[in-house]
């Protein structure tokens, strides 16, 4: 029972980490493109 709970908790943490890491990679790419545009003077406003 104890091992089952530990396994579930661990799997939840692993899922959070993997999903978050994939999403963070997307953030990295998109903000990287924006950064590149900023450095080249081509940036658009992203204001709300």
């Amino acid at each position: 029972m104890g091992l089952l709970i530990v396994t579930v908790v661990v799997r939840i943490l692993e899922t959070m980490f993997v999903v978050g890491a994939i999403g963070s990679a997307v953030v990295l790419v998109l903000s990287g493109i924006e950064d590149l545009k900023l450095l080249l003077g081509l940036e658009e406003e992203n204001r709300s």
């Binding site: 661990v10 959070m16 978050g20 999403g23 997307v26 990295l28 998109l30 903000s31 900023l38 709300s48």
Partner: protein, 794 residues
């Protein structure tokens, strides 16, 4: 607190509270340099700590953390682009409520307080490591006296951890005293340190590449579960439940997550990005993003690549046993080339390490001081802590508290960088997590303008899903939770620290509640706060040529009494101002109106109004937030077209030094600007008077005689009978300017130095005859200046 009789609403004293901070703005290069002074310092210890915890594949995790820091940086850019005021506590409170806000501030304080000890001890490790290496080299050459050799039963060596503790204590105490005195943090100094660091990084990387080609390299094992070798300490509470090496195999991904958690220290300092946001020059957001790019790239190259190179070049036999706490020194020693050259480069590495790490000790004190000041202003910490130092006016009680905690931490660590690093990681990861969570919640709660949002954002049925923010938050939360289990020392220390601070905050808040309600009611009775974005004459309803009286300590208002005694307020307005100084780099957010006009300012102005009423005279009151007092006074005098600034004598500098500081601040104001007079009222009632800005200098008698003789001789020349004294001066100055700008510059400089040494420093700008200038005519612009006098009135 002095109290005034209740007044009707129409008779309430009007106080103008300027909300735009009077700062000397900095470029994105300088902002990046300040952040990198903190962030790049992690490169000196992060990889050593990570490798002790997870094994030889640690550099890959450092690289992964540095890549992830690009995403964390995006969250900080969004948080800075929100136009909110009030400091970390207030912003998090708005998003998550009071309880989590208190925990968030506690985690941030833990982060700041640990920054000092880990940086100080790490700097000590580098210095002592070098000293020991030099002693070993000297011993090999037989330069160590035999007696000393016998005394130590071999090569004399300093105890690395003990000496590092002594060094860290010395640096901390040094910066404690500097902060108590109120040192001005300089972005120029930060930029210089980063320039020197860049030279070191370029040499390090370039030389490493040559070494790789000449001597080959050891491969860095890939970051797979099989290659993870956790130490007993690195499993924390889990070591009691699982055999060390089976954990990674049981839960492969969990092993990766644990290793990532042990490497997260590499991005400590990222939060400093928010601290410099306020000081960035226009266009703020663009410059912030540029600074963020520089920071991310620089730290990726320095921290990430140096971590990889250390494993590739330093042999396994010595990397952890000898160089675990000074890995970059180890890298220098295993470059290709002669020993002397490597030792010289190691010396350079140590110098850079000392500069950057001791700077981080200072940043930690400044940051902690800033955070606790904001918390105290919000009533969550007793006002007692914020009481200004009698002589220097700094919040010395908060500084004492912070430094005391740092000293205890240094002593408790016994110079063990690994233990400090583990504990530090707790503060780093939880302060990032709370900040990210607050930003996530504010996406739904705060509908105001944002300059920028973390991408990507998906809109479904009119609802925006912040996918980027959620992703970064998931990684941070998963890492923070795993760290709770794997970093037992950090968890116990961090949770204890946070609970203690949480209790202090809660008790203080409860105790302050009644007091604040009373103070608020009194303020409503007597004062009317007028919020103004900038300092303008019209807002205060005053005339040009007014008298500006800066005040700070309500016990030293003699100069205000002197002004009121010597002036006719019907003819000349008197403005009493106080600068609400938040030290450079100490606050992430601008101050709210209530924070700018806090209970201290209320007491100060109550006393000022009492003094004015005792003279039966009217004064105007103004509070301005500022980066430093001198800039605030100079800019306010400029904006209000004041003819005279009357100040009290400072406790830490002479009147001439005060005049010099104000003059320097005046020089930084853009043209067109007008001169004014500074009067310093001494405690004994004597007054020193100085002119700020270009003015007719005080001439020595012999110079006047010389000028007259020259005039006599020149006017004897045919055709020059009508020449005036000022024509002689014009000709002389024109020739001087030409000579100084051309070939005779060195000769002139030598001559002036000789003159200064012979005659002693000249009392520049002092008006010898001490003419009182109160009630003087409004200062007129010098006609010799190329400026339109009308423009000064606009």
């Amino acid at each position: 607190m002095a109290s005034l009789p209740p007044t009707s609403p129409s008779n309430r004293v009007r106080i103008v509270v300027a909300t735009s901070v009077m700062l000397t703005f900095i470029s994105y290069w300088r902002a990046a340099a300040i952040v990198l002074n903190d962030l790049a310092s992690s490169a000196f210890y992060a990889c050593g700590i990570a490798e002790q915890a997870v094994g030889k594949s640690a550099p890959w995790f450092i690289v992964a953390v540095m890549l992830f820091s690009f995403a964390v940086r995006a969250v900080y850019v969004e948080s800075c682009s929100m136009f909110v005021r009030g400091g970390v506590y207030r912003v998090v409170k708005e998003a998550l409520g009071g309880t989590l806000a208190k925990f968030s501030v506690s985690a941030l304080m833990f982060d700041y307080i640990l920054t000092g000890p880990i940086s100080g001890v790490s700097a000590g490790q580098y210095i002592v490591g070098l000293i020991n290496e030099i002693i070993v080299t000297a011993d090999v050459h037989g330069w160590i006296p035999r007696a000393l050799h016998n005394l130590y039963n071999g090569t004399p060596q300093l105890n690395i951890n003990l000496t590092s503790v002594v060094f860290a204590l010395a640096v901390t105490i040094y910066y404690w005293w500097e902060n108590t005195k109120g040192i001005q943090e300089s972005s120029k100094k930060a930029l210089r340190v980063m320039q020197i660091t860049t030279v070191m990084v370029v040499i390090l990387l370039g030389w490493s590449v040559i070494t790789l080609f000449k001597t080959g390299y050891h491969p860095v094992p890939l970051p797979t579960p099989e290659n993870l070798h956790f130490s007993r300490e690195s499993l924390g509470f889990l070591r009691h439940s699982f055999p060390e090496q089976s954990l990674a195999k049981m839960f492969g991904l969990l092993g990766i997550l644990i290793a990532f958690g042990h490497s997260v220290l590499a991005m400590s300092g990222e939060e400093s990005l928010a601290q410099v946001n306020r000081e960035l020059a226009h266009p703020k957001l663009k410059n912030l993003k540029k600074a963020a790019i520089i920071i991310a790239l620089y730290s990726f190259i320095f921290t990430g690549l140096s971590a990889l190179l250390s494993v590739m070049l330093i042999p396994d036999a010595v990397r952890v046993p000898v160089y675990k706490d000074n890995l970059i020194s180890g890298l220098a020693m295993y470059m290709w080339g002669p020993l002397l050259l490597r030792l010289i480069f190691r010396g350079f590495v140590v110098v850079v390490g000392f500069l950057i790490l001791s700077g981080a000790v200072n940043t930690a004190i400044i940051g902690s001081n800033g955070v606790l000041n904001r918390v105290s202003e919000d009533g969550v910490l007793a006002d007692w802590f914020r009481f200004p130092h009698r002589k220097y006016g700094t919040s010395s009680r908060i500084i004492n508290l912070v430094v005391l905690l740092q000293i205890i931490t240094i002593l408790a660590s016994r110079g063990d960088v690994y233990v400090l690093g583990e504990a530090y990681a707790f503060g780093v990861i939880w302060s990032f997590t709370f900040n990210n969570l607050a930003m996530l919640v504010l996406r739904f709660k705060y509908k105001g303008v944002r300059g920028w949002k973390v991408p990507p954002n998906l809109t479904i049925a009119g609802h925006e899903l912040p996918i980027g923010l959620v992703s970064v938050f998931l990684v941070l939360l998963a890492t923070a939770l795993v760290n709770l289990a794997t970093k037992s020392v950090a968890t116990v220390a961090g949770v204890s620290f946070s609970v203690v601070f949480f209790v202090i905050f809660t008790v203080s808040e409860h105790a302050n509640r009644k007091k604040y309600a009373l103070a608020k009611a009194q303020m409503k009775d007597h004062f009317q706060l007028l919020q103004s974005d900038t300092v303008e004459r019209d807002t205060l309803g005053i005339r040009p040529g007014n008298l500006l009286v800066p005040v700070r300590d309500y016990n030293t208002l003699n100069h205000l009494r002197w002004v009121l005694d010597h002036s006719d307020t019907l003819e000349q307005d008197v403005v009493v101002m106080t600068a609400r100084v938040s030290q450079f780099g100490s606050a992430a957010y601008g101050l709210s109106t209530e924070q700018i006009f806090s209970d201290y300012e209320q007491t100060l102005f109550t006393r000022a109004v009492s003094v004015a009423e005792s003279f039966g005279k009217r004064i105007s009151l103004l509070v301005v937030p500022a980066g430093d007092t001198w800039s605030a006074v100079a800019q306010t005098a400029h904006n209000l077209e004041s003819s005279t600034v009357v100040a009290g004598l400072s406790g830490k500098m002479t009147a001439a030094e005060q005049a010099f500081q104000l003059g320097t601040a005046w020089e930084a104001i853009p043209e067109p600007k007008q001169q004014f007079v500074l009067q310093i009222v001494q405690p004994d009632g004597n007054v020193d008077t100085f002119r700020i800005g270009p003015h007719t200098p005080t001439m020595k008698n012999e110079d006047v005689v010389l000028l007259h003789r020259l005039w006599l001789n020149v006017t004897r020349e045919p055709g020059l009978e009508n020449v005036h004294h000022h024509d002689i001066l014009t000709a002389a100055l024109t020739r001087f300017a030409n000579d100084y700008g051309a070939r005779d510059r060195d000769e002139i400089v030598k001559q002036l130095k000789r003159h200064t040494i012979d005659a002693g420093p000249l009392p520049v700008r002092r008006i010898a005859d001490q003419v009182p200038t109160v009630q003087s005519e409004p200062a007129r612009p010098d006609p010799s200046n190329d400026q339109d006098p009308q423009s000064l009135k606009e």
